[in-house]
């Protein structure tokens, strides 16, 4: 059974149907990427999986549990964690406080301290600035902090919403290396990206969203060569030959 099983979910904001009957699975140890143009519904999908926007229909199971009606904090405690679009670092908190915030629902204090040290060892830039306000970090460092914060929640599945957005090529390279490394250590990843080339190169499976619907899903190598993927990004979604 898959770690995450999203089956036929729909979400609407008022009259806007942002997701229509979307299904998706992530198995243990997998990197699955979700691609699609701006406004396709990618962020909505991740927020719906987290429980931060209500479903109109459909269901979600995580780690063999039906979480369809669970609040976000319950899902996060189970290890379903989001690195949100735009990083959403808390700028009135210090770097270290941002990391601790990631672990706020955990009660195993000693393990938390050890994991924080491991994160500092991985990101020496964060360690140097641990007592500074997070607003003093560069964009790349903020993305590392956002990922570090998510790691503090002890994730089993990490969802990342356009983590490469606005980063320099060097940081994009580092970011994808990090994702692969975390995945090799056993973390399942659901990766939303605009950087399709990079995302397809690290993913085990890929899903394409167009106007709230899944239009393609499968092997990333095959998808990378599919002309319909280019079409999806040009917004010519409806013209897909069957």
């Amino acid at each position: 059974m898959a770690l995450l099983d999203v089956s036929g979910i729909s979400v609407s904001y008022g009259r806007v149907n942002a997701l229509k009957d979307v299904s998706l699975q992530v198995k243990e140890g997998e990197i699955v990427t979700v691609l699609g143009a701006n406004g396709a519904g990618k962020s909505t999908l991740l927020k719906a999986i987290l429980g931060a926007v209500p479903l109109k229909s459909g269901g979600i199971t995580f780690a063999d549990r039906d979480v369809t009606r669970a609040q976000p904090h319950k899902r996060i405690a189970e290890g379903l964690v989001l690195v949100p679009e735009g990083r959403r670092i808390l700028i009135s908190l210090t770097v270290e406080e941002n990391l601790k915030l990631g672990a706020h629902m955990r009660r195993d204090g000693t393990a938390i301290a050890g994991e924080m040290d491991a994160i500092y060892a991985r990101f020496p830039n964060l360690a140097e600035r641990r007592n500074m306000l997070a607003s003093c970090l560069s964009g790349g460092e903020q993305q590392m902090l956002a990922i570090g914060r998510a790691m503090m929640a002890k994730p089993r599945l990490m969802m990342l919403d356009e983590p490469s957005l606005g980063l320099s090529p060097l940081f994009v390279q580092k970011l994808f290396e990090l994702i692969v490394e975390l995945n090799r250590d056993g973390l399942a990843v659901l990766l939303v990206e605009q950087n399709t080339g990079k995302a397809l190169s690290v993913a085990h499976r890929a899903t394409v969203l167009e106007l709230g619907r899944v239009t393609m899903a499968g092997d990333p190598k095959t998808l990378a060569d599919d002309p319909r993927l280019q079409a999806a990004y040009l917004g010519a979604g409806e013209a897909t030959p069957a």
């Binding site: 009135s92 406080e97 914060r149």
Partner: protein, 294 residues
């Protein structure tokens, strides 16, 4: 002689200021974290004094009466959260302001029906022991109240800066949507904040009753108004600003009554606040526009 008189008035001013300070901190919690100017707080201040008075008159032991007053204020605050604040989320921020004002009027009138509109004499609880330091006379009740207020605020400040729940509260203050994405259970945290601010207001009301030995259904209005003024002059959203603003207004009020005259007290106090705000529009400890609003 004059020197000791000044010192005495400073002590009295700090006492009154401590009450304004607690009110200002209560308002600051509500506005800083929930973005809500909670006008029911003066009503909860009044409940602190009036409910304790009622139960003491009823024959309850003093400490039980105090505990009951705090519990009633906390419960009423949960009702404010449920019926004035929660249903208005996502709408105009002015709507809960007005409905919380409705709660204030409701509470005042309930007390008015039950106790009448007159000032009631709150019994002297602490034996009239005084500490004499040089020419200074400090009442035990006064000293205890000051110490309690300062400890409460110090504890709150430590709690916010150093505990996990404190970090969650500061996260909600900076960005409510981010807080949800971080798995903060706002459905639990927000009522907790309503209880915390209610307790601050009700403790202030209790201290007022004990120190000035009088209560009335409308005792919250003047103090509530000064609490809001203290919060603004201190810098909205800053706890230490609220502390500074509260103590400053208490001092200014007492000193201008004893050295200038009681009839001009509002002119001098609010004149001072106006001058401060002209010189520092963001308030004494406020930072200009730091809040992230998307």
């Amino acid at each position: 002689m004059r020197g000791s008189m000044l010192a005495q008035q400073i002590v009295n001013g700090l006492m009154l200021g401590a009450i304004y300070m607690l009110m200002a901190v209560a308002f600051t919690l509500a506005i800083g974290v929930l973005n809500f100017l909670n006008f029911s707080l003066p009503g909860l201040f009044m409940l602190g004094g009036m409910v304790a008075y009622g139960f003491i008159k009823f024959g309850w032991p003093t400490l039980f009466a105090f505990a009951a007053a705090l519990a009633v204020a906390a419960l009423v605050s949960l009702l404010v959260e449920r019926f004035a604040y929660r249903p208005m989320q996502g709408g105009d921020p002015e709507v809960p302001l007005v409905s919380s004002l409705g709660f204030l009027v409701l509470l005042e009138n309930l007390m008015l029906i039950y106790f009448g509109s007159d000032q009631q004499a709150f019994p002297a609880l602490v034996p009239d022991l005084n500490l004499r330091l040089g020419g200074l006379v400090i009442g035990i009740a006064q000293l205890g109240s000051l110490a309690l207020s300062v400890l409460l605020v110090l504890w709150l400040s430590w709690f916010l800066s150093s505990t996990s729940t404190g970090r969650c509260i500061r996260t909600v203050a900076e960005n409510r949507d981010t807080a949800v994405l971080m798995g903060i259970d706002t459905g639990r945290l927000v009522p907790m904040l309503f209880i915390a601010s209610a307790l601050l207001a009700a403790v202030a009301g209790l201290l007022f009753a004990v120190n000035y030995q009088q209560v009335s259904p409308f005792m919250g209005e003047g103090v509530g108004f000064k609490g809001v003024a203290a919060m603004i002059v201190g810098g909205m959203g800053s706890i230490w600003g609220a502390v500074l603003g509260g103590l400053l207004i208490g001092l200014a009020e007492v000193l201008s009554i004893s050295f200038i005259g009681a009839d001009v007290v509002n002119i001098t106090v609010y004149g001072l606040l106006l001058v401060i705000l002209i010189l520092r529009p963001q308030g004494l400890l406020g930072r200009p526009a730091t809040r992230e609003k998307l």
